[in-house]
Amino acid sequence: MLSKELKNILLKVQKPGRYTGGELNSVVKDSAGIAVRYAFCFPDTYEIGMSHLGMKILYGLVNEREDAWCERVFAPWLDMEKQMREHNIPLYALESGDPIKDFDLIGFTLQYELCYTNVLNMLDLAGLPVRSGERKALTPIVIAGGPCVCNPEPLAPFVDLFLPGEGEEVTNDIIDLLKKHKALGSTKQEFLKEAAKIQGVYVPSFYSVEYNPDNTVKAVTPSNGAPEKVKKRIVSDLDNCYYPDKFVVPFLEVVHDRTTAELFRGCIRGCRFCQAGFLYRPIREKQAKTVDGQCRALCGSTGYDEISLCSLSTSDYTQLYPLLNGLLEWTEEDRINIALPSLRIDNFPEELMQKISSVRRSGLTFAPEAGTQRLRDVINKNITEDVVMSTVKEAFDGGWTAVKLYFMIGLPTETLEDVEGIAKLAQKVVDEFYHNPNKPKGKSVTVSVSASTFVPKPFTPFQWEAQDTPEAIAEKQKHLFESNTTRKVNISCHKVYTSVLEGVFARGDRRLADVIETAWKSGCKFDGWDDVFDTEKWEAAFENCGISPEFYASRQRSFDEVLPWDHMDYGISKSFLINENKKAHEAVTTPNCREKCSGCGTNKLNGGVCHALCKGMA
């Protein structure tokens, strides 16, 4: 329950519902019978964290255990942090209200690089030293998972252990091990040594990094029996893998406030810029009947009136028709809307459009990613302009009047002509609307163009590429705005410097930890928020640490350079990535994994099985 002190504070901050807990389906246990208390921290606001599927899965999974209790923790917004610090209220978990510094496990999910200062800030708000070396006791153990763990080096000095890959199995392994060592009264070192033996556990303090005179990494050497390469964990069988039948239902509106169904993991497309498309391989599908059952359970336990079919490329799901037909049997009657947030533009048939629009019309979003065919071939986004136009035509025939188009600026080999192509393509979409005799009467069209900045990421074919300099990006953005001649097209772009910072941390090494700590100490937090982000403080932090961001962001690497994340094994073979990189520079596309296997190597993680190759799984 809330203390009077906290209640007083809650009326002084915006959206106090972020900090109270007590939501439907949140799990409260008697701490007396609990061996391992786990604080699952999302290093961003409540509204963002509560939208995250991974947290819902792991929360439910841990709370299935009688000997463990998982609670949620989010980064308090600036106003709340101020109040907490003024009143000496340490960071607490929402379910119990207990300070997380007394927990056994503190887990962070690292979804994007710009949350790193929040990780430090949350540890500090909890009353813990941010550096793992200064946390001497066995507990709390600070762990971290999520996609950024594919290159965890910039956070290496702060986190006790990282969990590359999928968390369903390894989380339980860690809890079991910690429970054992707590009972034995082990030291932290003893626990970490054992933990490092588990597949999918990376203990950064057991690896020493040497550098070359030119500042590149010379070698990464393991000690204490830790493996040379840390292999990520995956779940093999999604049909029998834990999936929650309840979601915590927030009182206040969060970003994704609905039932989320996961159809499959991985992606067959191989778009060369897309880290997720490589990180989550191999493809593993769920049966339609499994998904249907999970949706029914979740809608029943939450009262949500929307189901989001969520995967990297929803329309590549081999059982999409049976799934939709099954869902529509009961969702229409229950007035439940089905949302397909991640559709590919090229295999989006009218029949499918009719099906979802018969329930309720959602917005239409396409991601051509690049403005010209040449550049789309470079990034292996195998969509032609004809396909874009015919799909848009179908959409307008079907009554849509708003189309969102996603692009990237700063892709390898990009020229100003490619940038101009974005505006031209958007213009063509507008023209298509006005030439369409079936367009909705008396309505105007809006085409929203979102042009984000490309950031080269580890484990993609572009991991060696130089990121555009801030100046180059700014010039391209300016050119894009100037190329647009119609008010029917709204263009929005990302802030330049945040993308650079994202690029620095995505491919950074351990020396960046000092920069993160310096920036955080100078007041940086919530760096993903444009209204909070402070460019000058970050520039000063790099300056004070004598580290050049350009070295990490805008430097072309050679194929034989030791990359800071080379000791992480995500199953993708380096020769495959090199080959893809070479093809990119020749503007040669690679067929999707269902047409032809390109031998990325990730199926080895799953006993040779990749569902991309099993057409129309039974």
Binding site: L2, P16, L24, V249, L252, E253, G300, T302
Partner: protein, 224 residues
């Protein structure tokens, strides 16, 4: 289709749920209860669910009326049971009845305000200050309103909106029972009155609780 008025107690952590959030939260609760809501027949159909008098954030209530329109043969008792099973923490279904009065008939509301002062001496002194401020009848508060699109600050005379005011103190606690104007046209938020009292009287409670006890019609009879 028929209308039903559900009376909900709101307490504990649930008091931090804003009015808009409450609407969504209760729509989901009714869905979980398996009670088919009637949907409006407009261009964008939405379930009919409304609160005659929104409760300000941070205040608890003995019974908030919530009006819903439903398409079912379920009896009031069955609805009571079905809803009771699915309520989130902090919400308790107190009654399910036919809506007797129209939502617009709400004219006043009765509140219980509890103030905790630093000690008994402070409480006694503050009680006297509050009493004289209320008896003086000159209490005013500033309220931001809208004039067209412009935001304007206007001064409102509170004494015209305070219809009953009883005060007692014990130890370091002061209890105030007040009947204040309430409704869609003239409404006095007790938190605003309290702020005005604190400002005018120059005191600051260490802790405050506000609880709405009931809604009244213009003749002081209960809104039902």
């Amino acid at each position: 289709m028929r209308s039903v008025r559900v009376w909900l107690e709101k307490d504990g952590r649930a008091i931090y749920t804003s009015h808009l959030d409450l609407n969504r939260c209760m729509t989901r609760a009714v869905r979980r209860a398996g009670i088919p809501l009637w949907y409006t027949e407009g261009f964008n159909p939405h379930p009919y669910l409304m609160f005659p008098l929104p409760l300000p954030l941070g205040q608890s209530s003995d019974g908030e009326p919530m009006d819903i329109r439903i398409e079912t043969d379920m009896t009031d008792g069955e609805i009571f049971d079905a809803l009771s099973r699915v309520m989130p923490e902090g919400f308790t279904v107190k009654a399910v009845r036919e809506p007797w009065d129209k939502a617009g008939d709400v004219a006043m509301a009765q509140y219980l305000i509890t103030l905790e002062l630093a000690d008994a001496v402070q409480a006694e002194r503050t009680a006297a200050v509050i009493r004289s401020l209320i008896d003086g009848g000159e209490l005013t508060a500033e309220k931001t309103g809208k004039k067209g699109r412009m935001k304007v600050v206007k001064e409102i005379k509170l004494s015209e909106l305070i219809h009953r005011f009883e005060l007692s103190w014990e130890g370091s606690f002061i209890k105030i029972s007040a009947v204040l104007s309430a409704g869609s046209t003239v409404n006095l938020n007790p938190a605003l009155m309290l702020d005005a009292l604190c400002k005018a009287g120059g005191f600051e409670p260490v802790y405050t609780e506000i609880r709405r006890q009931k809604l009244l019609k213009s003749d002081f009879s209960d809104f039902e």
